[in-house]
Symmetry: C2
Subunit: 256 residues, 2 copies
């Protein structure tokens, strides 16, 4: 993963395995693309290819949701989009606050992928008084003092932390105390949270370090005289990447 998470041994969350949940957004993205092309149905094989996973895995994943396919035909795209959206809770609107409007925070505020998935940026918050009132992505930045009020007034349950590492735990505590129960953490720190609060972290530097490890390994084997794992550029044949799963990495931004 990439991605990483920090919590309990999974209470039977509706019976859907964590690994499956992590892949549902992937399927949803692929299905949305098909939907926009007005494709009516899709087979597990096709959809799996589009999502970059194994078709057996995809079918097993869907089997946890129920029997939404038709044998001999495949899956109804629109219906499946709806079912996955519902399962992920995307049929409702999720107000989100972003704390720490530096370069990264601003980038997140401008990121289009949120709104299109049912996430609404309820507020941008920064500790710097200079930032207050300044509009970012069309939304005026508010000072940290307003944090509790905003969260309670808007019923925010998801917070994004994009502050420097030193401020992250403090911000986290305030978010949680105010009622936030899910946190996406971009600060390079381990967050302490009470039970019942979910934390997912995205550490850019960690992802690069994992790549560096493999890069070094490749270089080492190459230098070892053995025929390199990577054939000459011209000889390589295009081929889907083995695995891009969030686990990695278990992956994920942020994963991990």
């Amino acid at each position: 993963m990439a991605t990483g998470r920090a919590h309990r041994p999974a209470t039977r969350s509706r019976g859907i395995p964590e690994a499956t949940v992590a892949r549902l957004p992937l399927y949803l993205r692929a299905l949305t693309a098909l939907s926009e092309r007005s494709v009516p149905t899709v087979s597990s094989e096709e959809l799996a290819a589009a999502a970059g996973v194994n078709s057996a895995k995809l079918r097993k994943d869907f089997s946890y949701l129920g029997s939404y396919g038709t044998r001999g035909v495949g899956y109804d795209v629109e219906y499946l989009v709806y079912q996955i959206s519902r399962e992920l809770g995307l049929t409702q609107d999720w107000p989100v606050v972003i704390v720490g409007i530096g370069n990264l925070g601003a980038a997140l505020a401008n990121y289009g992928g949120f709104a299109s998935r049912g996430f609404r940026v309820a507020a941008l918050i920064d500790a710097d008084p200079q930032m207050a009132g300044k509009p970012v992505a069309g939304i005026p930045v508010q000072h940290t003092d307003e944090l509790e009020k905003i969260i309670q007034d808007d019923g925010v349950s998801i917070g994004v932390i994009a502050t420097p590492a030193g401020a992250a735990q403090q911000v986290c505590d305030r978010l949680v105390a105010a009622g936030v129960t899910s946190i996406l953490n971009f600060a390079p720190t381990v967050l302490n949270v009470p039970e019942g609060v979910d934390v997912r972290k995205v550490d850019l530097s960690i992802e690069l370090q994992i790549l560096a490890f493999h890069e070094q390994r490749k270089a080492g084997e190459e230098a070892a005289g053995d025929a390199g794992v990577v054939p000459p550029v011209a000889a390589r044949k295009q081929q889907p990447a083995a695995d891009q799963g969030p686990d990695g990495d278990v992956p994920a931004v942020m994963p991990a």
Copy 2:
């Protein structure tokens, strides 16, 4: 005692599990913080708490690297920092190119966590001719036309894609053709790459969707009359989540 240790006999990186590799950067971060506080040694229990993992897991992870601890004492911080850095390939400099200098690309260019870990931004690349020459994070943006030349001249093997989804595969193909063998992908698309090329992806929207799933589940259980997983705000008591130690707060390793 830091220095006098016997040399490891060829740590075959082949034997290090992927899950362990993904955690090494986490340990490294915690160790760096300890190092800056001039802490000479640390026990597996303490370090595990600081990194937010189980101590048994940490010991097993380290066992794949070799026997670097001293029973009854713990691990020598400096020595371990060095060993992990070496294992991850961070003792050498990794030139990195960032393609797509929008909000996110600019944020990445400004991210301090790269330089401090041995990653050097060799170039910023954007398809927009308007951007060419404009400095971002002190580095002038170059046009996509220069991509191949830059990669070959600087021997770049790691590329970061921060373009819109539509351009990602095309950029990826050019990166790979020019010699890049590791890619960190921020675009919400599945990338096709030849064998031997590593891809890690970070998708902000996916992480939020996973949080939304758990959030919905929490809300559902609460509404189902069952005693909610999350007690009322006022009643919650601060408590380390799962396996994160009580200490937890490791002061800012890196500025962000």
